[in-house]
Amino acid sequence: MTASPSLAAKQRPEFLIALGLAAGPVVALGFTRFAYALLLPAMREKLHWSYAAAGGMNTSNALGYIIGAATAAWWSRRFGARAAFVGGIVISALALLASAATDNFAGLTVLRFIGGLSTAVTFVVGSAFASRVHSGGQQARSASLVGMYMAGVGIGVVLSGVVVPAALTAWGVSGWQAGWLLMGVLAVLAIGPAAWAARQVPEQAAAGAAHGGRVSLKPLTPTFVWYVLFGAGYVSYMTFVIALLHSQGMKVWGTATFFIVLGVASAAATLLVWGRVIGRLRGGTAPALVSAVVLIGVLPVLLWHGMGAAIASAIVFGGSFMAGPTAVTVLARRMLPAHAWTSGIALLTVAFSVGQAVGPLVSGLLSDSSGGIAKGLWLSVVLLAVSAAVALIQRERAAGHQHQETAAAGAPTAAGH
């Protein structure tokens, strides 16, 4: 049986709209957040930074992300969701371009902060857009379209894995500025598709406005602690792994291959694996498993040198680090009542960002000590191991499945929730 022409015509724009929206995470997370790892060794060498100073750049980025995530709904209400989404990409693009124009440490720190803020606004508002791309009967398609949007993160990692090494190959360590510049230009080019896609989706009141009675988040305490430790552990690796590979003698295109494989693995695993696995696990088992797999992904580059270890690490780490937010969202959804979902998940995001702010700084300080950068990355291993143990303390106390009113069908006689 073949699809009718009208159905095919309807599906094509939805696919294109999701891809257009994916330009948001490409710029926000792929370029503005993660690509810094590729530039860190050259910037550190050229600008004579300590590892702590280099890590501090990502601390600044994570602090910006906290502010952006906390205010995304406000920006959306104040200027409209489309303007907030597209404006976030524009600011990210400007921050990327400006990063190419200065070697001043304070200036770059401020730009990393602004980039973190715009990343969060773009990503949060864009996620809400992506979940509204499809409307009507066959809503099951919505999950695939949101998955396509999320794959933008991996696509951004892959693209940066091509353009940054190209700049570094052409200009050596001085190419870090060209790296930012090239990503800035690509970000400017991404504004058009993103703006077009945002115009195709109905604008709606910003998510995050739902309020209800006060709810204790105490039962989720182990998950909050896990998320801080996980955030610190994974981002320490993500910040410094290219620097580690560089220190082990790997050339620019070797680290680029590593980064591209990591990006592809993250996009594929986010779409195909983790949603199913996490849904089947209860309590803290899912976050513990995610920590364990990410930890296994960190180990190869610490235990062995060479391309084989790097690729193994890229596949396992890349295929698992984005599962953390999925595990937390599923737990929050199961354990919190409906009116507390938005606020509960927002507070968990803050915990995640706090970990991401602290991790690179502490890891950088350790890397500056006698053990070198490997010592800093062993911090990732320790944090991930502790986080896995903490996650296992989490018990699941279900809030119960939420009832909807079914007037025409008659009220149920007994609910038991």
Binding site: S131, S142, G410, A415
Partner: protein
């Protein structure tokens, strides 16, 4: 015999067959029936995505209850929100809440690959249930 039957419906042909089977069985045993539909959502990265339109979910449930009532079966409906991974558990909870002595489901027959992406609710209900579970016939 069965006096309180919970039938889970999801808008598929298999669910329609489950509804017909439930109707015939309830008329034979004078059972009360509760129709359960779960308005599912899924988590993609950190975003909860609704997989069904709320209005469509209400309509589906109302239609199923009306079908049973027209056949002379005393029936009501229950609509729950839940993650797609938690549907089987929600069916168990609803059966407990209704004090059901039978759960009727319409199994989907799919490839192993398809089952990986969308696990079988019927299998999970059968494995977890402490009360009788009836799978409606695949055809007819």
């Amino acid at each position: 015999m069965f006096h309180r039957i919970l039938v889970a419906v999801d808008g598929t042909a298999a669910a329609q067959r489950a509804l017909r089977t439930t109707s015939e069985l309830a008329l034979l045993t004078s059972a009360k029936v509760r129709v359960l539909h779960i308005d599912t959502s899924d988590v993609v990265y950190d975003t909860v995505v609704g997989l069904e339109d709320d209005a469509a979910a209400h309509q589906l449930l109302d239609s199923a209850v009306a079908t049973l009532r027209q056949a002379g079966v005393p029936a009501d409906g229950e609509l729950l929100d839940g993650l797609v991974a938690d549907v089987a558990q929600a069916v168990q909870e609803a059966a407990k809440g209704f004090a059901a002595d039978l759960i009727v489901v319409g199994p989907h027959h799919r490839s192993r690959l398809a089952t990986w992406f969308s696990p079988s609710v019927s299998d999970a209900v059968a494995h977890q249930s402490r009360i009788a579970v009836l799978f409606s016939a695949a055809e007819g």
